[in-house]
Symmetry: C2
Subunit: 461 residues, 2 copies
Amino acid sequence: MNAALEYLKTNQSRFIDELCDYVRFPSVSAQQEHRPDMEACARWIASQCENIGLDTAIHQTKGHPIVVASTPAKHANSKPHFLVYGHYDVQPPDPLDLWRTPPFEPRIQGRSLFGRGASDNKGQHLAHLKAVEAMLRTGTELPCHLTFVIEGEEEVGSRNLAEFLTANKSQLRCNAVVVSDTGMPAPGMPALTYALRGVAAIEVKVTGPNRDLHSGIFGGSLENPAMALCQLLASVRDKNGRIRIPGFYDDVKALTAFERRQLARLPFNAREYARFLGVPALFGEKGYTAWEQRTARPTFEINGLTSGYQGEGSKTIIPSTATAKITLRLVPNQDPERVTRLVCDYLKKACPKTVRLELKTGHGGQPYLFSPTSPLATAALAALETAFGKKPVLLREGGSIPIVTDFKRILGADTLMLGLALPDDNAHSPNEKFDLDNFAAGMRMGVHLWPALAKACSSVS
Amino acid sequence: MNAALEYLKTNQSRFIDELCDYVRFPSVSAQQEHRPDMEACARWIASQCENIGLDTAIHQTKGHPIVVASTPAKHANSKPHFLVYGHYDVQPPDPLDLWRTPPFEPRIQGRSLFGRGASDNKGQHLAHLKAVEAMLRTGTELPCHLTFVIEGEEEVGSRNLAEFLTANKSQLRCNAVVVSDTGMPAPGMPALTYALRGVAAIEVKVTGPNRDLHSGIFGGSLENPAMALCQLLASVRDKNGRIRIPGFYDDVKALTAFERRQLARLPFNAREYARFLGVPALFGEKGYTAWEQRTARPTFEINGLTSGYQGEGSKTIIPSTATAKITLRLVPNQDPERVTRLVCDYLKKACPKTVRLELKTGHGGQPYLFSPTSPLATAALAALETAFGKKPVLLREGGSIPIVTDFKRILGADTLMLGLALPDDNAHSPNEKFDLDNFAAGMRMGVHLWPALAKACSSVS
């Protein structure tokens, strides 16, 4: 292991040069004009894999190709198998005039490498690849079989990944997936993200009169659908920020005392956070911290309201209809279908009979939880601590990462999210950068991670 | 008086021909191309006035001319003075393809005269003019001074009338104004409209974060402005339909037992009314009938809602802002300014401190009430009863009629609204018609009205 770590140190500047080469590809998956760049980029990362001895293939899809690279066959026998997921596509660099230097001409300043895709996600999965290179080149024992899956459509919704996973299920069956595509809350604070929120969408439409009516002639003698909608939605949440829908919290897995202690370690300053959001004061479910509220508690969020007159001045009508776009954020172990049904039942019951109610349910996504005290998590945390020289924190993510639920659903595999991005890395924004200390620590993490994870697997089985 | 009534009978078919001539002018005030038609129409009605001996003038305005015609000077001395208001302009006839015969080619079918403007308002004020013709031509004593004010901009907001009234205040000072431009609830049910609702407009804007935020990453830790707006507006009205704003009802003049008895005489069928509105069931303030709710009770009406995402599908954001357009309908003796202040005070107090609130107040209009038991009202009701041979009903109007409040404000005069339109007259719609029985009854009403009103004035003074 020391030889591998030494190899990483010795070759650091070459690795940085290689990351610069990687960032130079304008691999913007959303833009048709970059199709040749996408293919060239896929070939480049594939050749990187090949050069260190991985069995590499470029899988064509209906969209952009997926690069798959595995450790040689001898590793495959009876050893644990882990997937490493990454994506070589990047966000469009617009608006270009806000970049201090061109997005696809990498520039190093201090310990930051600036360029589109440096942090999201080229630098992060390249660190994993370089760790494997170090182990293979120095003859360090890699006690597991590894498969890199590097797709080119993450920024456009991973629209061909699920089909690829399904088609190659047996080859991809694994003990766990490792993804470095999330973040660390602060420099020197490595993190394992172990839970995600799910989502469910509902559109609520209230119809009153069959046309907009004169509010003078008729107003007072019929329900106003906009008022009915407001009263209906208002009734959903009490003043303590709790959702009043019967059964809504039934399946919520409560945070353990351990988790709450871990979340309490995260840096937080209420005044700064309120200033960052631009709100006069914070608000959330009583009894929970802001970190808990936005990652470990379910929500009922109004995303949009539409009714009647929206132009200048006033128009004295009783609008015929009023609609609201709603999304729920769900937490383990809430089931999107079941909770959607509870919400719809409540709305139907609570809606006055003086208007008509239509509900349209949209796409849902499962929440995700991987026990932060499981052997694999413990092993990953140990690898993080050794690599960074700091005690890692445990994170939950308030959003959803569909690929993680895809890995679970299709491959039955849990995902360890070991993100290397910093809050100021400007992912999806101008002047994206990647921290070179995190690049180096990410490589060290790889060297420590595989033996630890392999050991955890064998101790379990 | 009998001579005058006989004259009306004898000349009925000529009057109908004259109404047809009047309707033939496409006097659409909203459309610039009809400017010559407007002028020709004004000249036509002015010559009608002149022919029967009225002192007639066509007043130019910034818009369309106003025709003013007064009984000869001898009437002006020490007799009561009444204004008769009407308008020779009409609504645009569109959509033309829904008319069974062309809008400006009058057609008589049964007792209906079809044509744009027949009911609104040419037929109604022509009836008044014909009554005066009958009295003057038959030497029947007209015990008062009369001034016809027939404007050409009622359908575009009477935008030059207030200035005209102000400039000619001394000439127009009068004991009351008579307007036949409202409706009767059913055939054979003559009506005096004695009250109007006022109006006040408020725009409510709630701002949360300073940009739309990702509902996954941040949702739960800050107030959603759309939810804050819904809860704020929802709190305004209780489940009995009563506005919960302190002081809101303080100045409401309660309906007298007499008024409630009168309103109870009006035809009403809840099922038919709900079907007409297109609602599954009616709703309104508890303790009041639908007629009372929509004419004699104040309301808080949401005219529009706007927030966040309004496109197809869903967008997982916490919107930065949410706005509502509100209008209040006010009843005697509520003051728009005072009630607007009460509403704003309430909203400011009720709005959570976790969002910012902006309120923008718009144009207000005073409610109007003319005592239905006053000597003038009693006299008008008697004239209606004699002319129609039916006991008249007392009506309140839920909307606002700005000219009535202008007459009160500028001339200090009350208005008697003695409408001749039927609910199925299709005012503002294709196939507008005027009932020829009402045309005839309207003329008879005129013959009875002026002596009765004059007598009421002298008994008061």
